[in-house]
């Protein structure tokens, strides 16, 4: 009997167009837009690329030359120097072919035409070079053969001007928005959960009334509906994560299998929450849907979907809320996978999602257990 009910519950859930829209199309479009918006910002602000610079040698500076040569040995050098005349260098700066002009001579000077991250890196580089070169120059005067070694050492030192990540994961701050989006898809599983209560409580729909007249126990009917909804939600969220990771090319960080696990468990928790909301009150179906959407959006808001700083504020003021807010738990679990080398923070988050799924499913089932209704 379970399999019979499961088969048809699955068929109806798959054919339900609103499910396709809210769990597949809507998030995919949102992800597409977010990716288009954030990838360009990230490229501009965060992603490192070699900075082109013109060098005008007023006098030969061996140390500077060896530093620049050492840079070029790197796969992704901090600077790419073009040695040229001042006139040509100014032209290149005007045409924005270079970010600045370094003048060598008695001291190193820098000429910039703009402000920005790359210009700041150039300024930091020249300032640091001037300080370090004074010490090293004295050593070279004593032993000119030291110039190359000193240059390599200095190059390595100056290379820290480049921002180095603290983790092996994706350091793009905007990836957090995709975690929140995955959390949103998971929590939207509540639409399926809500439908379970509507289709299984005789006071909510004629369909449920007809089911209640059949010789199938409420427990079997609800279990089949929940299992089908969990499966549909899991497939939807796996498709979404796959779309984000492989179609949009967003590096989510961490083991992909564990990312899928988080997402699936989050989706199951979302279904269970919707089932609980649908079963636990006597509101009309329309009000239930409204309440469910309001709860979802509020939880997503507090998890940082609309403004990432909210979650940080909550972490500071009421950290316990971030441990029980399902979307926050989902996005945090993905974040932990990205930044942590082990699973010491991920595992409790996953356990919390499993516990939520169980808790809300059981509570929803208790509310909708076999009963006679006061009114239909």
């Amino acid at each position: 009997m379970f399999l019979h009910c499961f088969r048809y519950e699955l068929t109806t859930a798959v054919r339900e167009k609103s499910v396709l829209f809210w769990l597949v199309i809507f998030p995919a479009v949102l992800a597409l837009l977010m990716n288009a918006a954030f990838s360009s910002i990230y490229d501009k602000t965060s992603k490192f690329s070699t900075i082109p610079v013109a060098v005008v040698e007023n006098s030969t500076d061996l140390l500077f030359r060896s530093v620049m040569d050492a840079f070029e040995d790197n796969e992704e050098p901090l600077l790419k120097a073009t040695y040229t005349t001042e006139e040509e260098a100014l032209g290149m700066l005007e045409r924005k072919e270079v970010k600045g002009i370094i003048y060598t001579g008695r001291t190193l000077t820098l000429s910039l035409a703009d402000t920005g991250v790359e210009e700041t890196v150039l300024r930091t580089f020249t300032d640091q070079y001037v300080v370090s070169s004074a010490v090293i120059s004295d050593l070279i005067k004593q032993d000119p053969a030291m110039a190359q070694k000193a240059g390599e050492a200095m190059s390595a030192e100056l290379d820290i001007c480049r921002e180095e990540p603290l983790t092996k994961g994706n350091t793009d701050p905007f990836v957090q928005y995709f975690y929140n989006l995955i959390a949103m898809v998971a929590i939207y599983g509540s639409i399926l959960g809500l439908q379970i209560s509507i289709n299984n409580q005789a006071d909510l729909s004629p369909l449920a009334a007809r089911k209640a007249c059949s010789p199938v126990s409420k427990t079997v009917g609800v279990a089949a509906s929940l299992a089908a909804a969990w499966l549909v939600e899991s497939v939807c969220i796996v498709l979404f994560v796959t779309f984000v990771r492989f179609v949009l090319g967003v590096e989510l960080g961490g083991d992909l299998r564990l990312i899928y696990l988080s997402s699936i468990l989050g989706g199951m928790a979302g279904v269970s929450i919707g089932f609980f909301i649908g079963s636990s009150n006597r509101f009309s179906n329309e009000v239930k849907f409204g309440v469910s959407m309001a709860v979802n959006m509020t939880l997503c808001f507090f998890s940082g979907l609309m403004a990432s700083s909210i979650k940080l504020v909550i972490e500071e003021k009421a950290p316990w809320f971030n441990r029980i807010n399902p979307p926050a738990v989902i996005s945090n679990s993905l974040y932990y996978l990205n930044v942590d080398d082990d699973l010491h923070r991920y595992a409790p988050a996953i356990a919390a999602l499993a516990a939520m799924t169980l808790l809300f499913s059981v509570a929803g089932a208790v509310f909708s257990r076999r009963k006679r209704y006061a009114s239909l």
């Binding site: 068929t11 054919r15 004629p206 369909l207 007809r210 209640a212 199938v216 126990s217 006679r372 239909l376």
Partner: protein, 316 residues
């Protein structure tokens, strides 16, 4: 002795201060088409929902097939087919899938179920629509699907709660014929409606309820015999002298006459051949008359006489 299929005793259901069922007593026998007739809001659907154990009630007992009915009475539910007032099917399943789903809640054996589904499709005449989704069906076809979902498992007791609401005449006739066919095949039927013509047409026994209380019960003839006026004769006649009217008034079983705008209305209470006797009087006086009609009382007349109000709103 006929077996009792459904028995309610002293059934009371209140919604706050409103008494929806007022000590309702029903005793429905095997093989009957039992009609529950009453105006909208009289308590018909509430009674059905209580019988099906969907609705909690305040007082009384309900027995089906001799056993107490509870929400967990799965052995009883297995033998019941329900067709609710509102269409209850999955929008996302085809006609065949819907019937198969509901039939599968009662019958586990696949081969038996397949045969039952086929029979149900043929029974309601949806052979050409088996792959259609419900939203593609007309109102009448949708009602037929609703019925097929309720009877596919061949239940012993079929409960139909206003199954012909908003149905075209052709589908309505087909539904009513179908109910009679199911009854002939052995099913006991409980049929609720506020359409007295339908109840008169198919029900073998009728209970009239008003304000949750059973006000009359019996066969349609038994119910009609309960009222004083048993026949109304209408005669178009241009001129009716007072002495002729008095002569008609004095005939046996005539309870009253009315003459207005060339139309004579004669109310009869019992007796037979009343019309012939009235026409004999007119012919004896050489009075020319036009169209003559004789109306037998309807269940609405029964309801009107007992409660003082019409069974159905005029606009219906």
């Amino acid at each position: 002795m006929e077996k009792t299929v459904v028995k309610t005793q002293n059934l009371v259901k209140r919604y706050g201060d409103l008494i929806a069922l007022d000590h309702l007593e029903l005793d429905i026998k095997e093989g009957e088409i039992f009609g529950l007739l009453g105006p909208n809001g009289s308590g018909k659907t509430t009674a059905i929902n209580c019988i099906l154990s969907l609705l909690a009630f305040d007082k009384g007992t309900i027995e089906i097939f001799g056993k107490k009915m509870t929400p967990a009475s799965f052995d009883i539910k297995k033998e019941i087919g329900v067709i609710m007032q509102n269409v209850a099917v999955f929008e996302e399943l085809t006609v065949q899938e819907n019937i198969d789903y509901f039939c599968g809640l009662y019958i586990r054996d696949k081969a038996q179920r397949k045969q039952c589904v086929e029979d149900a499709i043929k029974f309601v005449g949806l052979e050409d629509f088996r792959k259609f989704y419900p939203k593609k069906l007309s109102g009448g076809l949708l009602r037929r699907l609703n019925i097929a979902c309720g009877i596919a498992h061949k239940p012993k007791l079929i409960i139909l709660d206003e199954p012909t609401v908003a149905v075209d005449p052709q589908s309505r006739n087909r539904i009513l014929e179908g109910i009679e066919e199911l009854n002939r095949a052995g099913a006991t039927v409980i049929y609720t409606s506020h359409y007295m013509e339908e109840v008169e047409q198919i029900c073998t026994r009728i209970a009239i309820i008003d304000k949750g209380h059973k006000i009359a019960e019996g066969t349609k003839d038994e119910l009609k015999s309960m009222i004083f006026n048993t026949e109304t004769v209408n005669i178009e006649i241009l001129d009716l002298p007072d002495e002729v009217r008095k002569e008609i008034d004095s005939l046996p079983h005539i309870s009253g006459t009315d003459y207005e705008d060339g139309r004579l209305t004669v109310k009869c209470s019992g007796g037979s051949h009343n019309l012939i006797r009235i026409l004999d009087v007119l012919r004896g006086r050489d009075l020319a008359f036009g169209r003559v009609t004789s109306e037998l009382p309807t269940l609405n007349d029964v309801f009107l006489e007992i409660t003082g109000k019409a069974l159905r709103d005029k606009e219906e």
